[in-house]
Amino acid sequence: MDVRAQMSMVFHLDKCIGCHTCSIACKNIWTDRKGTEYMWWNNVETKPGTGYPTAWEDQEKYHGGWVVEDGNLHLRSTSKTQTVFNIFHNPHQPSMDDYYEPWTYDYQHLFNAPEGPDQPTAVPLSMVTGDLIQIKAGPNWDDDMGGSPVYAENDPNLAKLNPEQRAQMFAVQRLMFFYLPRICNHCLNPACVASCPSGALHKRGEDGIVLVDQKRCRGWRACIAACPYKKMYYNWQTGKSEKCILCYPRLETGQAPACFHSCVGRIRYLGVVLYDAERIREVAGLPQDELIEAQRSLILDPHDPAVMAAARHNGVHDAVVESAQKSPTYRFVKDWKIALPLHAEYRTLPMLFYVPPMAPVMAQKTGSTVDNISDDLFHDIDEARAPIEYMASMFGAGNSGKVRYALRKQKAVRWYRRALTVGDVDMATAERMLREADCSPAEADAIYRLTSLCTFEDRFVIPPMHREQAVEMLEDPLAHKQGVGFGFMEGPRRGL
């Protein structure tokens, strides 16, 4: 057992209102520099939709992630040999058009325009060339299903549905959509790290944050093709790649990352989990329908004395283990099993988990009343406006059982709380639902509290980062004793 610590995240999609505050917070801090205008380390997509960059989930086009061939894991985009031949031209790169050409407006014209019969307008200008442009797309162009006949209908996740299901999804009276906020998944088996010819990408030992060393990056862009989530970005100004850094400078000072901190829907949870690094290779190569369960099994119980001892033996600080015991991520993913990884079939073992959203209830008209309670209390999970196969394509690696389990438990908790607080449904039914959803009243209460009444401290359980110990993984701090600090640049000497 090789126990390591990982900062792991949960996004509760049922709470996301798609306000993009997270994206803006991130943009303002990290990507408002020249060359990064088009980057959105955090972005929010509308589903169904093609997202950003367009159709990033279509790995037939983008060749991201891993595949298993003859029992071996291979990067889909490159290999050691191919890297040599493609070193000056890495194929499968999204073009600027696939992201979007960043633009601003000529606001000055509003003030400077000569007096005329019409109101002056501010024309869009490219932030890359400075020229007047025709805006064709944006990082969230299909927001709230804008441009559905193009973008929503080409969502790669719809491939699993039959034509009838597809048609139903886009029928006006059944229309539904939800938001999918995305950041770097800080994967356990990151394809970007594996693909880098310069060895510039690394996964931090102490917290598993995946970073690009800006000094070692040579801009070969292999990572951009390799990352199946397209969360690696190429800075055209510096000629280096950049990515979400999970605001590690904020984490190191005990603050939540900017996107987490600013989230108005409070959908984001952050905490340490302990995992078994020894089994990564084995788990990443399992058959697709076993991936979700196997990835879950990688995460270890931080209360287990054996795990705690192994963690201590591996140099994980006791404070980190203690923090892992309070981790909200652990409760969502392991205890309650209602948070699922996005596209586990890419086999990168993403460490960002999503609580799948409840689709709107399909009401039935019986006589003159509209009834939204059926005899089969869970009926609307399978009869939901979004077919379960669609959700399973995203969160279940094609395995709808896992998604159904998560949705049923959420539904049961709702009914339980409704019986408790509103009282218009009877408690016996609610308790029956809890039993059927594999949930105890105590668990339902805990889910309810962490979902609805969560405080800042509940959502973000950030361990002390112990940088002073983390650095020991790389070098001996005592070797540099007297070499740093606020002392003299040169030793003191007598005389002038």
């Binding site: 367009t54 790169q93 058009d97």
Partner: protein, 290 residues
């Protein structure tokens, strides 16, 4: 940087042969014979008539030895001095001045003159020159010459074919070599059949003599080559420019073909996602309407 390095490495292969100058030191009478064969026969005969330079038969009786020795040291110096006989020789040779011969010492000059004197007395000197048939060239000769030039037919002694370094007007699509001079008008330049024949028999330039001294052309090879050069010269051809143009045209064509090949091999390469998506949907919508 890699390209520069490569140039650095292969560069000497081109200039080392050029700066290499054969300068044998001759001490014995037998070596005078060898020296004459290696250095003089491309322009002179003994009793074989005039080539570029005069026939040397009985040269020692025409002019005194001291003058000849002096002349051999540096023909250009004698001309510059305004020596009337030297000027006359220059005129006879149509302004071709005998070059300074490397390794020509007064002692060697004496040895050579003695050897020429002895050879002049023989009924037929070994240096009477290559006897090239005077028969008129036939079309067959020209074709054979071209085959030899282009390397379609190998040279009997294993020398490299002319096209390796030379070109001529009519050398075909790839234009031949450009390391040596263009031979389209060599027949005029080397003053016709006899002189050029002698030149081909014992080429005098450092590069040619180095290449062909041990792999000399045979008389039956020289004749077709002469026929070819005579034919080219008679047709009034300019230097082979078409060859060069053809070469570039060929390169252009091959480049286009390669690009077409790449386009086929990497047909499924990543080009764009969003734009085709929009185009496809637009076609669907517009198609439904019309």
């Amino acid at each position: 940087m890699t390209f520069k390095l490569l140039l650095h490495r292969i560069g000497p292969a081109f200039y080392i042969p050029l700066i290499f100058i054969a300068g044998p030191i001759v001490a014995h009478a037998q070596e005078a014979v060898d020296f004459f064969r290696g250095n003089c026969t491309s322009c002179h005969t003994i009793g074989g008539g005039r080539l570029t330079g005069p026939d040397l038969k009985d040269v020692t009786q025409k002019k005194d030895r001291a003058w000849l020795v002096q002349f051999l040291q540096s023909p250009q110096a004698m001309i510059d001095k305004g020596d009337p006989y030297a000027l006359k020789l220059k005129e006879e040779a149509r302004d071709v001045v005998m070059p300074n011969i490397n390794g020509m010492t007064p002692a060697l000059a004496e040895l050579l003159l003695t050897m020429i004197e002895a050879e002049s007395k023989l009924p037929k000197s070994q240096f009477a020159g290559l006897q090239i048939s005077d028969r008129p060239f036939t079309q067959h000769d020209i074709e054979l010459g071209k085959a030899l030039f282009m390397g379609d037919k190998r040279l009997a002694n294993g020398g490299p074919p002319c096209v390796t370094c030379h070109t001529f007007n009519g050398a075909g699509g790839f234009g031949g070599g450009h390391l040596g001079p263009d031979l389209s008008r060599a027949y005029e330049r080397l003053q016709g059949r006899k002189a050029m024949g002698a030149w081909l028999y014992a080429p005098a330039t450092p590069t040619m003599s180095l290449t062909f001294s041990k792999k000399a052309l045979k008389a039956e090879e020289i004749l077709p080559l002469l026929a070819l050069f005579e034919d080219t010269a008679r047709s009034g051809a300019e230097d082979n420019r078409t060859g060069l143009a053809g070469f570039f045209a060929m390169g252009f064509l091959v480049a286009i073909l390669l690009l077409a090949l790449f386009a086929v091999i990497w047909k499924a390469r990543f080009r764009a996602v969003r734009d085709p998506l929009v185009q496809m949907s637009a076609r669907k919508v517009l198609g439904g309407r019309s």
